[in-house]
Symmetry: C2
Subunit: 352 residues, 2 copies
């Protein structure tokens, strides 16, 4: 990598030392329950045979990987010459919880923890306002509560949802984010758990390998919905960030959606441009886990088709099992494209 290219990593999973860290920030009745029984996050039943979190980056101070701010700076940021990291935490699966009040309480407590125990520790950290989409009005309130914090740079929720994210019940979230000039990001992980549909349109796959491979399908479904429901016409300054959903499916999706739009546009009269134009102007994608063809040049061809240098942002997914390290990918891009993907696209989006 270019020695003078400082990286912004847009998907770093800081972890709780223990669920008990949330207790001081929870109101009753949740405080007593969590203190006694933990968070009770719904599970999807798919277990990675290699674990989800790397074991080789556990902090010497104890606790799980990525639970110590100082060690995260040393192990990730200093090693890879990072200027900033966008903390995405480990709580987006609250989107799969059944009780909207409990989900909203956990989200608020988690956000307070992020501010107190992470953002205050290092100026290079930026945070995400995690929201529970089950009650979109409560989610909008949470955005209003925290959007003024100078280091909170986006709204974040799970891609595991009860419904496609373009549908109208979610619009209060976009209204609030848009009003505060914050992007909305989604992150996978809870697909198939709790109150969410089966993780594929074919139902429940058998193993983590299949479940993980199929996560991109959920991103495709949300993206089609966001465009067709007119979210980007209704909220013209809204930016949507698709974290960890893959990218090489974009040519297929944009071409198929544009073609169908040409034949069926009477059903979405609020759209004024081709669907792919909304995607190019309003959506950003993170690199990890980047698809890896045997012939690297084929990925570069895909990059050319999707204007990658303007819609991609580097992410490591540290400390997860499949995290991509900066030196391993994107070697073949032009210096200009590398600078955008590794730094300036994120800097512009997050107004850093």
């Amino acid at each position: 990598m270019d020695k003078d290219l400082r990286i912004i990593d847009v998907d770093v999973h800081n972890d709780l030392k223990s669920p008990l860290e949330l207790v001081p920030y929870l109101p009753e009745p949740w405080r007593t329950r969590v203190a006694a029984s933990g968070i009770g996050m719904p599970g999807h039943g798919y277990m990675s045979p290699v674990g989800v979190v790397r074991k080789d980056c556990m902090p010497p101070s104890g606790g799980p990987s990525a639970s110590d701010p100082d060690f995260l700076v040393q192990d990730l940021m200093q090693q890879f010459n990072m200027e900033h990291v966008i903390l995405t935490g480990n709580m987006t699966n609250i989107s799969t919880m059944h009780d909207p009040d409990y989900a909203a309480a956990i989200a608020s407590a988690y956000n307070d923890h992020i501010i107190a125990d992470w953002l205050s520790k290092n100026d290079a950290f930026r945070g995400s306002i995690t929201v529970a989409p089950q009650d979109p009005l409560l989610a909008a309130k949470e955005i209003d509560r925290l959007a003024g914090h100078p280091s909170m740079v986006q709204v974040l929720m799970g891609s595991a949802q009860r419904a496609p994210l373009g549908q109208r019940q979610f619009h209060p979230i976009y209204e609030a984010a848009s009003r505060h000039g914050l992007p909305v990001a989604i992150h996978p992980g809870g697909e198939g758990a709790g109150g969410t549909p089966p993780p594929t349109p074919a139902g429940y796959p058998t193993r983590y390998l299949e479940w993980h491979t199929c996560l991109s399908q959920n991103y495709m479904a949300h993206l089609v919905s966001l465009v067709c429901e007119g979210v980007f016409e209704k909220f013209p300054n809204l930016k949507f960030v698709m974290l960890e959903g893959g990218i090489a499916w974009l040519p297929h999706l944009m071409w198929r959606l544009d073609k169908n739009y040409k034949g069926l546009r009477s059903s979405v009269p609020w759209l004024k441009r081709m669907p792919s134009a909304y995607i190019r102007d309003h959506c950003m994608f993170s690199t990890q886990p980047i698809e890896e063809p045997q012939e690297p040049q084929e990925l570069i061809s895909i990059f050319d088709m999707i204007d990658a240098e303007n819609i991609l942002m580097f992410s490591s997914d540290y400390p997860h099992w499949d995290n991509d390290m900066p030196t391993e990918i994107l070697k073949r891009l032009s210096p200009e494209a590398r600078t955008k993907i590794f730094n300036t696209n994120a800097k512009t989006l997050y107004k850093i």
Copy 2:
């Protein structure tokens, strides 16, 4: 098009003149019920704003489009210099029915109708053994019953299924097809209807435009399942035909699945090769509805990535709203690739 290139069209939707055409082939109690009340196919609730069937190709003899064998020969085969058509009918949505006995009875009656009212009418027609997957042992019996017919060239079922198609409950269907040397094909249309999961991993989209665009996701899920469950190791001569599911997503899917396999292969120890190798050797894809980029050369780049000339077969989807006509696509291929895609790939697969 090359004047001497005769076409084989692998997805032609012959239709019933009326559901009553099935009545003579149904046993009781279904005969009386269908005669009185029709078939009662589950609906998914998504309506195309332009209709599903073209109105400009209704036969002068009366009845719905593609319900008259002679007019189909004239309107499709003669006009586009077709050597053979593979009839895929309009009954794959029986895969969404709730009652396995009723679904199997409708499938058998439909197959008897195809033999009597279509295959006997023209030597250029080839038929599909439609099966109801709800009871795979009954489906296998139906395959055994009809595999000997010289014009029945494949087993066909809906891609709308209760579960991913690699899972073990479906293996009796593959065992029977494999034993008779018949490919197994799937076709979309019933996604989200009857006993099937929501048509996307994000739940139920709002409109036909979104539903139709997302159909490819179901194909991705089935393909991941077929490979990971080891179907192509267990049935090494089995060929799987993915009709009307799109193709430009294949680079994404093959690269993502191969990458995940490298990290997680301990969970699928029966696989002996890279997942993409099974796809290339065992799966065939139909062209319609082909993705259409603004820059046609980008589709050719995708073709190169997926060895398209050896895995694609031309299909028109006649007489559906979005059917692709032979003169409109694939113009930029080499003559050799055109011959394979428009003729010899199907001839080899279907042993014509």
